[in-house]
């Protein structure tokens, strides 16, 4: 049984449909990401699950098989981590973490050991941090406290709303790994909202890509990257060249699947196009080549630098080239 289900869920704010007829299921223990640009409805979807918003009539949200209609957040027993951390500024770190335990009337004597364990889980030394106020912590430390505060209740479902958005890149990479490890080690289902495709690809078991209140595609990172269903998904997850395929159907070709051949070469089996090199960008491990086609459109090819490209780079601006890709790398798109 899935741990959470959305069945035909919509949410309108006045005339705006923030979430539009969304149906999907989240499986026990998985790392599930809601990915999309700002305003796509991903945060509203998370807030519906948490109970901060009620779905429009007709839709239903179930958690653990139980319909959540009208159930306030404080009865849903979920963990939630906010983008702004939302730590209580008037309480020390340990009182912040103890807050949920106190509300659930956990025995007084059982609280300190559980707080300590939760802090250790997120790698904050209790002796050093327990007595501090949130204002005395760095952004990364605050995020850890927010995580400990949610995890101490041992929820089955942990909701995270862009929790790493305000943290610098270096730390963010480390936290991504740690979150994924926590998800695996604790067996808690993570529902993760992000607009960062790299983050979603790195951590998720499955991703729901959202666009204008709808789920544009749901699948594993590999499924979504390899077979984007629409032009939007193809463009949002990684880069894609959108081209006219056989029979006028639109196809998407990933830049790293395109090979460059000298003009006049005749590759066997596969599609090819002629063009002229317009721009070359040397990126170290890769070289990005922008090719101008005869019809005025542009195609990006990403060449892996395995040593063969450096001395000298075989292409120069203005060169006539032949673009080539295998037929299975041209992914047909649905009209969205």
């Amino acid at each position: 049984m899935p741990i959470a289900e959305f069945i035909q869920v919509s949410k309108s704010f006045g005339p705006v449909k923030a979430v539009n007829q969304v149906s999907f299921a989240i499986e026990q223990g998985e790392f599930f990401s809601l990915l999309g640009p700002s305003g796509c409805g991903k945060t509203t979807t998370l807030r519906l699950l948490a109970g901060f918003e009620e779905p429009d009539p007709g839709g239903e949200i179930r958690i653990g098989g139980e319909p959540m209609g009208g159930k306030p957040p404080y009865e849903r027993r979920l963990g939630m981590v906010f983008q702004s951390y939302a730590l209580f500024p008037h309480l020390s770190v340990e009182r912040n973490v103890a807050y949920g335990l106190e509300r659930h009337r956990v025995a007084k004597s059982a609280i300190p050991p559980r707080v300590e364990r939760a802090l250790e889980l997120v790698r904050l030394a209790p002796a050093e941090f327990a007595r501090r106020r949130p204002a005395e912590l760095s952004g990364g430390q605050r995020q850890r406290v927010a995580l400990a505060r949610a995890l101490v209740l041992e929820p089955e479902l942990l909701l995270l709303d862009e929790p790493l958005g305000a943290i610098d890149l270096q730390l963010r990479k480390a936290m991504q790994l740690e979150l994924k490890q926590l998800n695996r080690a604790l067996g808690i289902t993570f529902v993760y909202v992000t607009h960062d495709q790299d983050e979603a690809l790195t951590m998720s078991d499955r991703i729901a890509v959202m666009e204008q209140g709808r789920v544009a595609q749901l699948g594993t990172p590999a499924e979504i990257y390899e077979s984007p269903r629409t032009a939007f998904v193809a463009g949002f997850i990684g880069d894609s060249n959108l081209l006219e395929g056989a029979g006028g159907r639109r196809v998407a070709v990933r830049p790293e699947r395109i090979q460059l051949l000298p003009s006049g070469a005749q590759p066997s089996g596969g599609a090819s196009l002629r063009g002229r090199v317009e721009e070359l960008s040397y990126l170290g491990d890769r070289i990005r080549v922008l090719v101008l086609l005869a019809d005025g459109s542009r195609v990006t090819a990403l060449l892996h630098n395995e040593g063969q490209l450096t001395r000298p780079i075989p292409w120069a601006r203005g060169d006539e080239v032949q673009l080539f890709w295998r037929p299975e790398d041209a992914r047909p798109l649905e009209q969205s």
Binding site: A50, G51, F52, P72, P73, Y74, R76, R77, L78, G79, M80, F82, S84, A86, L87, F88, P89, H90, Y99, G100, R103, H104, R133, A135, E136, R149, A150, L153
Partner: protein, 282 residues
């Protein structure tokens, strides 16, 4: 250059206060320890008898009543004002209108509004006419010239000073803190006492001070609505300087009033320091 500019900016206000606040205060202080003049004013000769006079049960009673009423007015303003401030802070569309309504009474003079209360409360006033005409009572209810009337007047006049600071601190309250507490299992009541109230405490303290201090020193309200029976410290000061012509005792009463105010201010500062989040301690 910068220092000179700072001094030039400070000078007018400082001189004003020195001339019209510090000097009169010193004059009053001097008067309070001198002999009483025969036709008002003061006569030479140092004495502390005017301060000692406060130990007389008659004046201790006035002192106690002043503190009690000011405290009662503060509590009543808090009870009435907090929910109002909360609603205004939560409302989006009508916020400005509601704030305007809160400060609307300031558009007329306090004296006029106090006289209006008399029309409301007296035996032939609006309240009693309604009670009599509907047959709810057969004799008019004595409302005017009672402690109740004084309290009503104080609360009416000072309520905005409680609402506005509380509103300001509630308005700053981060909504995600409320959601975080809900997600952690806090029911509305628990949420109020563990998050909303503690975080709006600076507003509560500021509002209480803004109500308590003027209530301590009020005399128009107690004079007009309380009659001669309900004397507060402010009325005592006034009568000593006017009808009783006892300037030294009036000055001493003024300083007693100031002392009470000082105690209230110091207490509230202490409270604030203890409860303020230590944001500057980084």
């Amino acid at each position: 250059m910068r220092r000179l500019r700072t001094w030039m900016l400070l000078a007018p206000g400082t001189l004003w206060l020195a001339a019209f606040f510090v000097v009169p205060m010193l004059l009053m202080l001097g008067a309070s320890v001198l002999q009483r003049g025969e036709y008002g004013g003061v006569a030479p000769g140092f004495t502390l008898q005017h301060y000692r006079r406060f130990l007389d049960p008659l004046y201790l009673h006035v002192l106690a009543r002043t503190i009690l009423w000011a405290a009662a007015a503060t509590v009543a303003c808090l009870m009435l004002g907090y929910p109002v401030a909360w609603v205004i802070a939560r409302s989006r569309r009508h916020r400005n209108l509601l704030l305007l309504l809160i400060v609307l009474p300031f558009w007329t003079s306090f004296l006029v509004r106090t006289f209006a209360m008399i029309f409301l409360l007296r035996d032939t006033g609006l309240v009693n006419s309604l009670l009599l005409s509907t047959g709810l009572r057969h004799e008019p209810l004595t409302l005017l010239y009672t402690p109740f009337a004084v309290l009503l007047g104080l609360v009416y006049g000072l309520l905005p000073f409680m609402v506005l600071p509380i509103y300001a601190s509630l308005e700053k309250l981060d909504p995600s803190l409320l959601e975080a507490s809900e997600a952690l299992g806090a029911r509305p009541t628990a949420q109020f006492f563990t998050v909303t109230l503690p975080l709006s405490l600076p507003g509560v303290i500021a509002g209480s001070l803004l109500v308590f201090v003027p209530a301590l020193g009020s005399y128009v309200t107690s004079d007009l609505l309380g009659g001669a029976k309900q004397v507060m410290l402010g009325n005592l000061v006034q009568s000593q300087f006017t009808t009783a012509r006892n300037w030294p005792f009036g000055s001493a009463a003024s300083f007693a009033l100031m002392l009470l105010t000082l105690v209230a201010v110091v207490l509230s500062l202490r409270l604030r320091e203890r409860d303020a989040p230590r944001e500057l301690a980084r």
